[in-house]
Amino acid sequence: MARITRRRLLGVIGGAAVLAASPAWVRSGVLPIKRSSASEGDEAGGETTAQWGMIIDLRKCDGCESYTPGEAQCTTACQREHMLNEDQTWIRVFEMEEPGGGTYFMPRPCFQCENAPCLNVCPVGATFRNKEGVILVDQDRCIGCRFCMAACPYGARYFNWDEPPEAAQKLLSRPTPEYPVPQRKGTVGKCEACIHDLRYGKLPACSQGCPMNAIYSWDMAKDLATNGIEIVKASEFIDEGHGYRFKEELGTRPRVVYIPGHGEEFGRKAES
């Protein structure tokens, strides 16, 4: 019988284990990695990288009650832009209760959290933050475990249980994390802040779709925000409007700030 010593056997097993595990350790690193093949080299020439967030002025939002009751235009525009199934509401308007019994409307896109729970739990690094601070999903890598959906405290992530609508499937474009159209079955999708448009000076679909111009895209690096009608100095605009972040106490540091209101700029009463 060949002499297989314990030492040798353990050595072989150990060596095999190290070999098998090495790609994971070498490539990943422990901390959230900066890995964004699509955004590299895409930076606007010479300027500082924009840092995108959103300011949503709830004084202007009446949930489209006066315009198309029951249908929020931001949601519709987003779904059209990304060719989504109807149950995927990457931006969705919620009717929130006021303490006095009235209500206000709150559109909820992805908050692009700076301490993003979804990003931390992704086992394969399919969710990542790009240079402009937008949380994106690489649908070529996502394994569909849906841990990010369990981790997101805002329910802002959606799974493609099914194929996207037929029109989207017929698109010849190859989806990228920054323009994930068409969506891919078996993977997770979410609001991408329309980074594919923002970078070229176009407003996100929801912002363009909003008839009240309540959604401002906010470049935090420049401290400027615009809804397509006006450009405001973001810090002043937020402070003077007493801006707040939703569920701030969770510590996720959302990049979306709300200016409180109930659609009063269009004559809506809170107790309506």
Partner: protein
């Protein structure tokens, strides 16, 4: 060397390996049909996507994750109990360690399938290795469970070597060529020499100590998949120990269940006695009480404060749509089993078996009410998520249960389900001139070298 009881022991444990009845084939055939049906259901899921399940964006984890937690839970029984009983030289463990160890391996082989069933893109599993990120609890699970599976296979195999040698000797030159070869290879030249026994003892001692922290890590990181999120019901600091206790609790129940079935099926009443049921019953009762304590700690500390999400969740659990599940778990899974074991009148193998089945069902329900309601709970003012499994999910789950039974059934057909040499060791403490522990009881365990420094290595 063999005296009458040990000869009978060998006969009784080898009989299932030598003779196979019709009923056995019928049972295996039945299991195969169930598994085939489950595989068909899985092909539907693969081609049509997870849309064929009852899961949707609000409740995005359901039956599969529940089953995952459940099976990983019962995998704790085995190895942990066997290791602890071996370490503490509990003599009565001898006839049941093998079964316990098999439960671990089989439950892991079943439980580890469920996350795969749950994946939207199972074809991308290699991404876990190629792109794995250590910051994700799923990677912790992946590492921990694969370590545990490897460790428990080794821990199952090591104490099987002397028995495999016994099988090898029995099948040498027999018409069963496949079996003869199988046992010859697996017995790796075991001749029961003093040196071989010394090495086996050391290897076993190392493994039984190593396996305990590994086992605990497994259910801890399983719970952390939930506890690392901010959802009400999951956002808990005690989830690690809570899950570990729950795992051992349901694991002991699984041992009792399996033990009762094999005792009946293989007529092992002589070896698996009322004592085993009673002792494991006491263990089950103790774990029942510890689990009840953790349950109280978990729900009282959130229920006292009634933070918004917790309040809504607790209302649904205690009086709402999940109340039947929750109270079935409390009453059927904790109170009734505890009473059955506490009263001497019902402390019989059959009643304890019944209690263990109740615990298993109750703990499954408990896992369900951990996974689903926390996901159904609205994060924003929208209606509660709804979830009910579809035929695909149920078929796959039942098929996995059949798979669990199938591996067990096949194992019992190829290998002795009782650790023959360990039981023999208790029958004949002085066999082969191996020194008995001085001052030990006459049926006492042979001290392990690793446990007693200067024991066997030194010349006497």
């Amino acid at each position: 060397m063999t005296t009458a009881p040990s000869a009978r022991l060998r006969e009784d444990t080898m009989r299932p390996l030598m003779q196979t009845g019709r009923l056995y084939y019928a049972f295996v055939g039945f299991l195969l049909i169930v598994i085939a049906w489950g595989m068909f259901a899985y092909t539907r899921q693969l081609s049509d996507g997870l849309a064929v399940t009852g899961m949707r964006d609000k409740v995005s984890w359901g039956l599969y994750i529940t089953n995952f937690v459940f099976f990983i839970g019962i995998s704790h029984a085995g190895t942990l109990i066997s290791a602890i009983l071996r370490l503490t030289h509990a003599e009565w463990r001898r006839p049941i360690t093998r079964m316990a160890e098999v439960i671990t391996v089989v439950a892991l082989m079943t439980g580890a399938l469920f996350p795969i069933f749950d994946l939207g893109r199972p074809d991308r599993i290699p991404n876990l290795i190629e792109h794995g990120r250590l910051s994700s609890p799923i990677i912790w699970d992946f590492i921990s469970i694969s370590t545990y599976l490897t460790g428990s296979i080794i821990y199952l195999y090591l104490p099987m070597i002397p028995d495999l040698a016994m099988c090898r000797d029995r099948f040498r030159g027999s018409a069963h060529r496949f079996r003869a070869t199988l046992y010859r290879i697996l017995a790796i030249g075991w001749k029961n020499t003093a040196e071989q026994r010394r090495r086996l003892d050391i290897a076993l001692a190392v493994m039984m100590i190593l396996i305990i922290p590994i086992a605990i890590s497994v259910h801890t990181v399983v719970s952390w998949i939930f506890a690392m999120t901010m959802r009400s019901g999951w956002n808990s600091t005690i989830f690690g120990p809570y899950f570990v206790v729950g795992a051992i609790f349901s694991g002991v129940a699984a041992i009792i269940t399996v033990m009762w079935i094999f005792r009946k099926a293989f007529h092992l009443e002589e070896y698996i006695t009322a004592i085993h049921f009673r002792y494991l019953g006491f263990l089950l009762l103790a774990l029942d009480l510890i689990y009840a304590y953790f349950t109280l700690a978990e729900y009282l500390t959130t229920g006292y404060k009634l933070e918004g999400g917790d309040k809504a969740l607790l209302e649904e659990l205690m009086t709402g749509r999940y109340a039947s599940f929750f109270w079935a778990f409390v009453v059927g899974g904790m109170v009734i089993p505890a009473l059955l074991i506490a009263f001497p009148k019902t402390r019989t193998p059959n009643w304890i078996f019944f209690a263990s089945v109740l615990v298993n069902i109750g703990m499954w329900l408990k896992r369900f009410v951990i996974v689903v309601p926390s996901m159904a709970l609205p994060l924003l003012p929208y209606e509660w998520g709804t979830y009910w499994p579809t035929w695909v999910e149920i078929s796959i789950s039942v098929a996995a249960l059949a798979w669990f039974a199938l591996i067990f059934t096949l194992f019992a057909k190829f290998f002795p389900i009782i650790s023959v040499w360990e039981v023999e060791e208790a029958l004949e403490p002085a066999a082969e001139g191996v020194p008995v522990a001085s001052g030990g009881p006459s049926l006492g365990p042979r001290p392990l070298p690793a446990m007693e420094p200067g024991g066997q290595d030194e010349p006497r």
